[in-house]
């Protein structure tokens, strides 16, 4: 009886460990896939124009929720058009401090910090931004469903909802 119980417990324990390892390994793979999309983005972002507009078209969900630092909303079509027409350009951009959390094997929340120079309608501005993107695996394809931008805190941030 004791041996049977011990074997059953061991089986449950091993199954649990194996499942946890599988989940960890799957999440690591997802993080790599998201980071590859991000890395591939950088040269296109700096080139701007139709090349980057196509990136938006390919990876952003039609209903992607884009919120700019002032809280205003932007649609996928508006973002894509602003690049395509050359109205909005990224003259310089360094992105770092990437952090990714994976949920359920389908959804990834990616945050990062970006410092650079934007040009909007011919006027250039230095930017220091915090990005919060959410990616979802839909029908086998990674889609960005949320793209939030905030101005980075000027000093260490405390709890302030």
């Amino acid at each position: 009886m004791g041996r049977f119980l011990s074997s059953a417990l061991s089986a449950v324990l091993f199954a649990g460990i194996a499942h946890a390892q599988e989940t960890r390994s799957r999440d690591e793979q997802i993080k790599k896939e998201i980071m590859k999309i991000e890395t591939d983005k950088m040269p296109l972002l700096l080139k701007g124009g139709p090349g980057y507009a196509e990136y938006f078209d390919r990876y952003d969900a039609d209903g992607v929720a884009i919120t700019l630092p002032d809280g205003s909303l932007q649609t996928k079509a508006e973002a894509s058009d602003s690049y395509r027409t050359g109205e909005f350009k990224v003259l310089a951009m360094k992105q770092f401090d990437y952090k990714i959390n994976v949920f359920n094997g389908t959804t990834a929340v990616l945050t990062y910090h970006g410092i650079g120079i934007f040009e909007n309608k011919g006027k250039s501005t230095k930017v220091d931004l915090i990005f919060d993107d959410v990616w979802v695996n839909q029908h086998g394809k990674w889609l960005r469903i949320v793209h939030n931008l905030h101005d980075a805190p000027k000093e260490p941030s405390s709890f302030h909802p």
Binding site: T111, V136, Q138
Partner: protein, 160 residues
């Protein structure tokens, strides 16, 4: 002919993949998310332990919270702030919920606006904020918030 059919199928599936989920099951998800959001409001107004419990139940442990100032905070920090009364929501009206459903009805993005009054460390101030939350239906069947993003809007209360 087969090639044409294959191309058409590919184009259709690519288009479908980029859209949010639609149909009756997506509507059920939208209703569920709005229901959770609506149940939240009386608890927010109670603040303290009742809202701390709601946060504990409905926030994933790894929830990513971006505050209006661009700083990050955590589930644990938020719960503590409500539990020890450091932070209170004195008034709050939330509306304009727009829910989009993805990943076979297991992920939802909800955007809405809130107008109210907060109290932080004994000091009260008016707020007008835009929220973007992402909810995931986890393996145990419970919907949990995995991303909570807050932007300040102009204090007038007027929608942009």
């Amino acid at each position: 002919m087969r090639v044409l059919l294959a191309i058409l199928l590919t184009i259709t599936s690519v288009g479908f993949a980029k859209a949010q989920e639609a149909g009756p099951s997506a509507e059920v998800v939208k209703e569920k998310i709005v229901q959770i959001e609506n149940e939240k409001i009386p608890l927010i107004l109670k603040s303290g332990e009742p809202y701390a419990k709601w946060l504990n139940d409905y926030m994933d442990d790894d929830l990513v919270i971006v505050q209006p100032d661009g700083g990050f905070t955590t589930k644990a920090r938020s719960i503590t702030a409500f539990r020890n009364q450091e932070f209170k929501v004195l008034t709050m009206k939330q509306d304009g919920h727009d829910v989009r459903v993805y990943a076979n009805g297991t992920t939802a993005v909800v955007s809405y606006e809130g107008v109210g009054t907060f109290e932080l460390n004994g000091k009260s101030f008016p707020v007008h904020q835009r929220f973007t939350d992402v909810w995931v239906k986890e393996k145990d069947g419970v919907w949990r918030r995995v991303s909570h993003n807050i932007h300040n809007l102009p204090a007038s209360g007027a929608k942009q």
